[in-house]
């Protein structure tokens, strides 16, 4: 009973699928944007890979400077607290001073009216806009995304962020008219639909690095990307270091279990 019924059901599915194959065109609709789209360039950072990665604190500090002086005009970083930048090699005193440089929303203790106060290490990086509506109003209806997780939240990760920052260029001459950037849009072949609302954010010498590094667009892009790798996962290096210990421990455990398995089975053919 099961077999004949199953056979009929199977025939039904197979017929539906054969008809689906016969009615589906074998060619794809041409996707022109696809041809102009570029794969991200690889960016090598000290925190890469699993072979003794580390944070390049000087680079992270430079990256944070780029974020603070350039990106933070439009992009929030709301998962990162000032206290977290200890990882970047700042002392408690420096963190306090750094936090003080920001005004964070507060309540006037006498009147209950909205007010602002100096930042504390326990505060989070304040957002540049009060809310999404304000952000869109200021940016031609585009919403600048929060950057805390950006290197984990995009296909291609850090490579994508670095490529996007350095990828602004004039549209190629053979670009079809419908793909040309409209008003307020900027051509960037690393972006999914080629045109994005963000204007090229970095220009040569835009920040002055305290350590004397030359602030080229490429250098600033690398630095801020390295910083954003840290903001996306501050526990990254710790995770890999703990991984070594756990893996090593389990390797010894597994060898011992293998030896006891061989020992117990020594008298049994199997």
């Amino acid at each position: 009973m099961v077999r004949p019924l199953g056979f009929l059901v199977g025939l039904g599915f197979i017929t539906a699928l054969v008809l689906a194959i016969l009615t589906t065109p074998l060619s794809n609709e041409p996707n022109v944007a696809h041809e102009f789209h570029k794969h991200p360039k690889h960016l090598k950072l000290a925190s890469d890979g699993i072979l003794l990665p580390h944070w390049d604190q000087a680079q992270l500090q430079r990256g944070m400077q780029v974020y603070k002086e350039v990106c933070s005009a439009c992009h929030s970083l709301h998962h990162v607290a000032f206290r977290d930048i200890k990882d970047l090699g700042y002392t408690e005193g420096q963190i306090k001073t750094f936090a003080k440089g920001f005004q964070v929303p507060s309540i006037n203790p006498d009147t209950g009216e909205p007010a602002t106060r100096d930042g504390l290490p326990s505060d989070y990086f304040p957002s540049p806009y009060a809310n999404e509506t304000a952000a869109r109003a200021a940016n031609n209806n585009a919403l600048p995304p929060d950057l805390s997780l950006i290197t984990k939240a995009r296909e291609g990760g850090k490579d994508y962020v670095y490529s996007l920052l350095t990828g602004f260029q004039n549209p190629p001459a053979n670009l079809p008219a419908e793909l040309k950037p409209g008003t307020g849009l900027h051509y960037n072949p690393y972006f999914a639909n080629l045109n994005l609302a963000m204007a090229p954010p970095l220009t040569e010498g835009q920040v002055t690095y305290a350590d004397g590094t030359k602030a080229t667009v490429d250098q600033m892009s690398k630095d801020v990307t390295a910083f954003l790798v840290w903001t996306a996962e501050p526990k990254l290096i710790k995770r890999i270091m703990v991984g070594y210990a756990v893996f090593g421990f389990l390797l010894i455990f597994t060898v011992l279990t293998y030896l006891s398995y061989r020992n117990i089975w020594a008298d049994k053919k199997h």
């Binding site: 194959i21 589906t24 995770r239 991984g243 053919k269």
Partner: protein, 428 residues
């Protein structure tokens, strides 16, 4: 249950004797996973995966309970509470990544366990009930994993919930009301998140219960083995403890090594970048894909693109996707061959390996956009999938002529050692 030569439980210590009279849990353990459970002596490493699945479930339950202490199931704060776990909770990043990759590890071992069963005919009499309960566990796992993936409330969480509950809207007439009832609204929202959290916490314990039934049903006929020949006498078996506890201990070690490598060195490889973007009902991701363990079924769903008879393509896809799992319930009766092990089934063995390739191909198709050649490959893959179980298997089991089989497990083991020894002396 079990065999007459099973070692009886004889408590020595007065406390154990007292316990045995009042609540014989030690007796239960002794007879289930101790020296009192005789197991065929010839099990290969593929018989480790049941224990590994149990280990994976325990890891999920323990890490999940800790995560629930810090997670907030509210659409307004769920995403941020996960980031709070990742950044501020002590070792929260470890617990969260272990839970996330633990789900993948659970599915890896369960898929190997299922394919072991398919190759060695573990679903056949007298173990049909073991198989049926196994399919129930698999369905519960899929429901649990899906609801768990919604909890971080990222873009894939939200849109995954939207797509999967959307399956129900394909049902004529009642579809849309059923979908709204499941979601508790018109789109996934706080009500959805809360009920999914509640059920995601409940279902693992239901799984645990069905696993107990699964093992109980297994222990009535006893474990199968790679020859598929039933145990005949004492020399065919060894006591579970210490023989298989030792072997499973080694298996658990290897499993944990893979698990740890994934969790610590590459925790996001099996995930999706979009789920680090907070859920947004106004912005659809370019490319909605489920987690890897659902991809073959997702490919079957998408393979149906033609309104055949009075049923539209979407409903065909949904029915086929559910049928692709439901047909496993009928497997013990679809395959009428009395030979269990594919080692002695030359024809079925070929189709088994085509099925393995087919499921991998469907998985690959499932992660691709709806473009050629992936559409036709998933259609061909789906045709083979249904043909394999519903057409080929019943015919093969009728016409196949099995290879000569040994008379007993012991004979098979001794024959293997004899050939090993002769080939060793030939090369020496």
């Amino acid at each position: 249950m079990s065999f007459p030569w099973a070692k009886p439980y004889e408590p020595q210590h007065p406390l154990m004797k007292w316990m045995d009279e009042k609540l014989p849990i030690p007796r239960l353990v002794y007879n289930a996973t101790g020296p009192g459970y005789p197991v065929p002596r010839n099990l290969n490493y593929f018989w480790n995966f049941g224990v590994l699945a149990g280990a994976a479930l325990m890891i999920q339950i323990i890490t999940g309970i800790v995560l629930a202490m810090h997670y907030a199931a509210n659409a307004g704060v769920a995403f941020n509470s996960v980031e709070h776990i990742m950044r501020d909770v002590n070792a929260g990043w470890f617990i969260r990544y272990a839970h996330m990759n633990g789900a993948s590890m659970f599915f890896i071992v369960v898929y190997l366990h299922i394919f072991r069963g398919l190759y060695y005919g573990s679903y056949k009499a007298p173990r049909e009930m073991v198989w049926l309960l196994g399919v129930v566990i698999f369905l519960l796992m899929m429901a649990t994993a899906f609801m768990g993936y919604v909890l971080p409330w990222g873009q894939m969480s939200f849109w995954g919930a939207q797509v999967i509950t959307g399956f129900f809207s394909a049902i004529p007439v009642v579809g849309e009301p059923v979908r709204e009832w499941l979601l508790g609204g018109f789109v996934p929202d706080n009500a959805t998140l809360n009920r999914f959290f509640s059920l995601h916490y409940l279902l693992p314990f239901v799984i645990l219960g069905v696993i107990i039934l699964h093992i109980w049903a297994l222990h009535i006929p006893g474990s199968s083995n790679p020859t598929g020949i039933e145990v005949k006498d004492e020399q065919d078996t060894v006591p579970f403890h210490p023989y298989y506890t030792a072997k499973d201990g080694f298996g658990v070690g290897v499993f944990l090594l893979v698990f740890v490598a994934l969790t610590f060195f590459s925790p996001n490889t099996l995930g999706h970048a979009d789920n680090y973007i907070p859920a947004n009902s106004l912005s659809t991701p370019a490319h909605i894909v489920p987690e890897w363990y659902f991809l073959p079924f997702y490919a079957i769903l998408k393979a149906f693109t033609f309104n055949f008879l009075w049923i539209d393509a979407k409903l065909w896809g949904v029915i086929a996707m559910f049928a692709s799992i439901a047909l496993l319930f009928f497997l013990p009766w679809l395959d009428s061959s009395p030979i269990k092990s594919s080692n002695y089934r030359p024809l079925y063995r070929i189709f088994f390996w085509i099925l393995v390739f087919d499921v991998l191909l469907l998985g690959l198709c499932g992660m691709q956009p709806a473009e050629q050649p992936w559409v036709i490959l998933s259609q061909l893959g789906a045709i083979y999938y249904f043909a394999h179980f519903l057409v080929i298997l019943p015919i093969v089991s009728r016409i196949e002529r099995p290879l000569p089989m040994p008379n007993s497990i012991t004979e098979a083991v001794l024959a293997k050692h004899a050939t090993d020894a002769s080939s060793a002396s030939a090369t020496a």
